[in-house]
Symmetry: C2
């Protein structure tokens, strides 16, 4: 992880809610410059169990948000793409992260001191409301995940996940930033069965795979498989 404090928000293309609040209020931009960091693949952005000290904003790249469970097994809840708040779910409540986030590729994030964020949203409820909104979205997706993991069987889970990834990439044809093992961690399926199911779907001409490149050939069927469970 490479930090730099020179970077100015003025040149940032994303303009997060925190930034817009900062310039709206009389809090100077200069003394509150966020910490900018460039991350390599596999770099840990935040770690389950550690203290929440900054709001983190994903500016570039992508990351996986996951809970570290028993026996070194992870469950990936979702993939983050910019613009996304990372500290979000742990933000208001506990001082400790209840999950971890690591970069899936070369990425960039901003660290904004929690003290500043808190100060800002006491002065400005717009910010708190917008943070809340993003927060709520995550909850809805987590509910869906719980149903999926517990009530669908592996074929349905993989199908659902492929649809999710396709929507994330906005295309029926995309490059997985994820290993088979990680696909397994998103669906709570063993690595071996993940592989088996992907080749099964290939044989059935529902998808086409070439290494980590995936193309969805029969989306309606995939949706059906996902819905049946």
């Amino acid at each position: 992880m490479k930090f730099s404090k020179g970077q100015s928000c003025d040149t940032c293309l994303l303009k997060c809610d925190i930034y817009s609040t900062l310039i709206k209020t009389e809090n100077g931009m200069e003394e509150n410059k966020p910490l900018h960091a460039i991350l390599k693949k596999h770099d840990v952005i935040c770690k389950q169990g550690t203290e929440v000290t900054h709001a983190i904003f994903l500016v570039k790249g992508s990351a996986k948000l996951y809970i570290e469970g028993l026996n070194n097994r992870n469950i990936i809840l979702y993939i983050l793409k910019p613009p996304a708040y990372i500290g979000l779910l742990s933000f208001f409540d506990s001082p400790f992260y209840s999950y971890s986030v690591t970069a899936l590729e070369e990425s960039e994030v901003c660290f904004i001191e929690l003290g500043l964020v808190k100060k800002l949203y006491v002065e400005n409820h717009e910010l708190l409301l917008s943070l809340n909104k993003a927060f709520g979205k995550s909850v809805t997706s987590i509910m869906k995940k719980i149903i999926s993991l517990n009530q669908k069987q592996i074929r349905g889970r993989i199908a659902e996940n492929l649809i999710y990834l396709s929507e994330l990439h906005n295309s029926h044809s995309f490059h997985l930033g994820l290993s088979r093992k990680e696909i397994g961690e998103m669906t709570a399926i063993s690595e071996e069965n993940t592989v088996r199911l992907l080749t099964e779907f290939s044989k059935e001409k529902i998808i086409a795979t070439k290494g980590r490149n995936i193309e969805i050939l029969d989306m309606p069927l995939l949706k059906k498989i996902s819905e049946v469970g």
Copy 2:
């Protein structure tokens, strides 16, 4: 569900955050009297998929919060006891509930118009912060639940659930407000296996059961079983 609008917050013993905000600000108490309701067992308090129109506050009794999944199967996430916000998780984000809540016994709730709550927390961030805090707590507990349901096996899940219920009742000996089927819905275990495990634990002198009364005899062992998975 029996409604009454006569009830005044002044006589309420709980004094929720919304009430304290209401009297702190110049919003009159009289014109903003909440809708008070008395519920019977099994009464639905809010229903997954329906519009969120009120903040709901549980004043008396208890309720189960659950997601309605596939094939009429539910997953109970947790039990609510007063004081508790019910609309919470769906509050900020979506206009629709992502879960359902029903009363487990004769209970009382307050319905506070969402418009009023929103107006209040724009005027008063203290309220928003306190709602947020409660919100965050739920998220943490849901994370735990995901791990439990996906990475522990049924013995560990039942053990964990018995500990949870014991803590909820603040006693090693308590009356379940839940059927065996509902215990199964809390742990994602079939009703039959739920029964089997409870009798198993009884035979092993870890618990003692008499109908829906449960006494935990060996808490350390139960904790061990829960941790091992």
